[in-house]
Amino acid sequence: AVVSTQSTGVDSRPDLSGVSSCERLTAAGIPCSYVYINSSTYIMKKVTKVMLAADALLANGYVLGPVGTAMMGLIANTYNKPVIVCCETYKFCERVQTDSILYNELADPDSMLKTLNAEESPVAGWRESPNTRLVNLVYDTTPPALVSIVITEIAELPCSSAPVVLRRGAVKM
């Protein structure tokens, strides 16, 4: 039997990596819709589950993901949709972190100036202005309370099992 699913890709600037996800999904035959993260409350009512990717799972259960992951987790929780994080166990990390600022990466600020229409952004001359800064965060941390389940290659776990998996890995070695 073929189950027809629909998926909605939520994208955030400036990477707009959701576009390539949409392309891959439509190529596979899954009907897709596409919104920016600003409109996530607009579509959240019709969504049945939210799937997020992670860059790391920290030892205190926080999920380090591309910026916007935490926002999606919060909105999904408010609308009572399950949040599923897909993360391989090699991404589990002994570090602990409670917020997104203490340890993060800054990507190229000029990529925030990219607009799809031909007009230049009003802050294009931001380097000359002493008062303007562009901050292009790469990661953000999602609190474990906002995540329903983490799917790894060995099992489906709650976020709080991260240190258990790490310990198991250490014992094995």
Binding site: R13, Y34, T78, V123, S129, N131, D140
Partner: protein, 385 residues
């Protein structure tokens, strides 16, 4: 392969405004209004129809008052009831059912309330006599003749214009009560009121502002440029990063397009999620808006297609990516509904108010018979025409 075609239908339905089925004015109206006024009224309707995103609501509100003042002076009426009927008839002709026009509808409601009050004269019923007396729509013809009544109405309209004129300065003068030194304030997208509010605060205090880009229109960039030109240290972040930084922010100060009757907002796309993130970290959300944005309408349905307006996605995904465009449903809603429990304070031209107090302000500003301007319920008692 099921696409949700509801979105396409919604675009069509919000475009077709019922009052424009026939572009002719009601013959009743044409009987009562001289020809040159008719042309001015048609011009105003055209101005509203070509609603542009960057149109300032203050400008359209002042235009509205002037057009209706013109109508009151030149139309053929004797009693206040007739005048109200003429005004409501004209409102049917205007494209007020489009989401952009709530500020215009609100000002029309204010004018109607002025007419009713002047008609009732000094012995008007006030709330002290009880709620039921207030809701009686007594349109007894007043003792004043048309010219006196018209003079009183026009005087009150001049007061209304002064109130509209000073509404922004009243709001921004409260900036120093709400911004302290070394504070970090988060704002969203572009708002003239908020920009002037923050710039006024900058004159006496030193603080930082973080501006969310507000994709896909990226109005936040314009706001950041204006704020930093005014001497405020500004940081621009992507909307997705709002949750990441909001715990380090002292307060969120935003503007809005409309305030609904229960204290909810119809604001720019993306404000709801920002308010949710602020609530999660207990960061207060303060909304600065003039009272002409306060609309006595409630959210009738949570269906986003009934409340919202979907605009073109050219800013979201390049049309050159035609293969994707043809397969993927792209939604670009213009507004966002923010429930009132996420908002801490409203700063209006009459001062600061909690969202729970707005119902009282509505009862002072508007008359219950005027709440629904689209399906105008003209009083069922006989007209003396």
């Amino acid at each position: 392969h099921q696409h949700d075609h509801q979105h396409a239908e919604a675009v069509v339905s919000t475009q077709s405004t019922g009052s424009f089925k026939n572009h002719e004015m009601d013959p009743f109206l044409l009987k009562k209004i001289p020809k040159d006024t008719v042309s001015r009224l048609e011009e105003f309707a055209l101005y509203l129809r070509e609603s542009k995103k960057e149109r300032r609501s203050y400008v359209s509100v002042v235009k509205t008052v002037n057009v209706f003042r013109d109508l009151i002076c030149t139309a053929d009426w004797v009693t206040a009831r007739e005048l109200i009927k003429i005004i409501k008839c004209y409102c049917k002709y205007l494209p007020l059912s489009q989401s952009n026009e709530t500020d215009v509808s609100n000002v029309v409601r204010r004018i109607l309330k002025i007419i009713r009050e002047e008609n009732a004269g000094p012995e008007a019923t006030n709330l002290a006599d009880g709620i039921s007396a207030f809701f009686k729509s007594d349109m007894k013809p007043s003792n004043l003749g048309r010219s006196d009544l018209q003079d009183n109405i026009l005087n009150s309209i001049v007061e209304l214009l002064v109130e509209l004129d000073t509404s922004k300065s009243n709001i921004i003068n409260m900036a120093l009560e709400h911004i302290h030194s070394n504070e970090r304030i988060l704002t969203y997208g572009h708002s003239n009121t908020i920009r002037d509010f923050l710039l006024h605060g900058r004159r006496a205090r030193d603080f930082e502002v973080i501006v969310c880009e507000s994709g896909p229109s990226l109005q936040g960039h314009r706001m950041a440029a204006e704020l930093s030109a005014g001497g405020i240290k500004t940081t621009v972040i992507a909307d997705s990063a709002a949750f990441a930084i909001i715990h380090a922010v002292n307060k969120v100060i935003i503007g809005t397009h409309t305030i609904m009757a229960d204290g909810a907002l119809r604001a720019a796309n993306g404000v709801h999620q920002l308010a949710m993130a602020a609530k999660y970290f207990s960061v207060p959300v303060i909304v600065c808006a003039a009272l002409y944005k306060l609309s006595p309408t409630h959210l009738c349905s949570y269906d986003p297609d009934a409340f919202n307006k979907v605009i073109g996605p050219e800013n979201m995904l390049n049309f050159s990516n035609a293969k994707l465009h043809s397969k993927v449903l792209i939604s670009n809603p213009d507004f966002d509904y923010v429930p009132s429990d996420l908002i801490e304070l409203f700063i209006t031209n009459t001062g600061g108010h909690a969202p729970s107090y707005l119902y009282r302000i509505i009862s002072e500003l508007y008359h219950p018979d005027d709440y629904d301007l689209d399906n105008m319920c003209v009083e069922t008692v006989d007209d003396e025409l």
